[in-house]
Symmetry: C2
């Protein structure tokens, strides 16, 4: 019979260095893009995620907000943790542990700070291994939660056309959706409401503008889907 262990003594509490690494995502030119910061001369990689150590008594999301505001001029309204990273992978500031946080900003947000640049997710420059892992996790989290969290709406301005919304979903999911089905499902969800404004974008029929306005939850949800992500 196996010996029943007893509760362990706590090891001596170690002090570790902590970083908050922010993945700022925004749709740019038909692709999801990440905001990167030019690294100081002499660094091993030329680009890094915006990051910093949290201040004393500063929450992680608060730190992410401060870090993002410094490179973007304004703080995004939406943050979500994507995980803690403490593997052996190298961090630009040699932090022992990184908290990865994804921030979503609408397409036409303000111009970023000097020494920053948007890179499409599929054409990133070389990053420190830790930062590459954080970016990959952030993208994967965004893809997996797009229908459980109002992620898509944070990538759009406060009013948007349904075609805009569909494009963002397609960007996040990485596949095309059918227009009629998309709209039907959206209608049934009571997530948006029409405004009385219309937008004419060059040629073609003008589109009605909608805003994100989730109504009270509809009744009990139904059966299980068994949609395992077996990637």
């Amino acid at each position: 019979m196996r010996e029943r262990p007893s509760v362990p003594m706590k090891s001596a509490v170690r002090r570790t260095t902590l970083a908050v690494d922010v993945v700022v995502l925004s749709p740019r030119a038909e692709a999801l893009a990440v905001l990167l910061v030019r690294a100081p001369a002499g660094a091993r990689e030329r680009w890094t995620l915006p990051w910093d150590a949290p201040q004393q008594n500063e929450g992680l999301e608060d730190a992410a907000s401060r870090i993002t505001e410094a490179v973007l001029g304004s703080a995004p309204a939406f943050f979500e943790q994507v995980g803690a990273f403490a593997d052996g992978k190298r961090h630009p500031g040699d932090a022992d542990v990184s908290i990865g946080i994804v921030a979503l900003v609408p397409a036409r947000a303000e111009a970023p700070a000097t020494d920053t640049e948007w890179f499409p997710l599929n054409a990133l420059p070389t990053l420190a291994p830790r930062h590459r892992a954080v970016v990959e996790r952030a993208a994967s989290v965004a893809r997996q939660r797009v229908d459980q969290s109002p992620l898509a709406f944070r990538l759009l301005p406060s009013t948007f056309t349904l075609s805009d919304l569909q494009s963002v979903y397609e960007l996040l999911l990485g596949r095309r959706l059918h227009k009629a089905s998309f709209r039907r499902a959206l209608q049934a969800s009571y997530l948006v409401e029409p405004t009385d404004e219309w937008r004419s974008e060059g040629r073609g029929r003008p589109a009605q503008l909608f805003r994100f306005a989730p109504k009270k939850r509809r009744g009990a949800r139904r059966g299980v889907r068994f949609d395992l992500f077996t990637e």
Copy 2:
């Protein structure tokens, strides 16, 4: 026009204390239960989550594995991060930052260590505020990801009846499911395969045992669901 900020100087890197807090979940007596450890005399609360500081160069999941093994006698096969907690809430070891990790163990796992006890999720004793937040997040993560991650199968032994499986889903989702619909959806998902064993559990017809054996992903997934969690 808004002034374009420049990239901030990194603040002096602070050293913080870090804890890995593990939420060990298992189905016990018709409810999901958490494994708690009796706190040393003099502590403010009588019970805590199993936790410890990660060792030098130890990954977070490795730490969770070590911590769980110490209280359970064997390491569960499944861990998932549920988030980092750095709010002002008090931690039993006064760690600045906690990484919450959920571990899933099957129902009839080994007897826990002395000074530990299973508590149903809805009848927890008083915990340090940080620990309460970690438990709540863990439960919520488990509920939200049950159909995207093979969570349910980690709460069952390697072979199980379909009624067992359905019960675990009902436990995680907090609502009843319909037997025929559940089985149809499961069949279509190719997640389990029958063994040639049967189990007779007291009265009633014996049930066939199945094992978790996910087959290659079926073709492209379909439409969007807009299932926002508006809790």
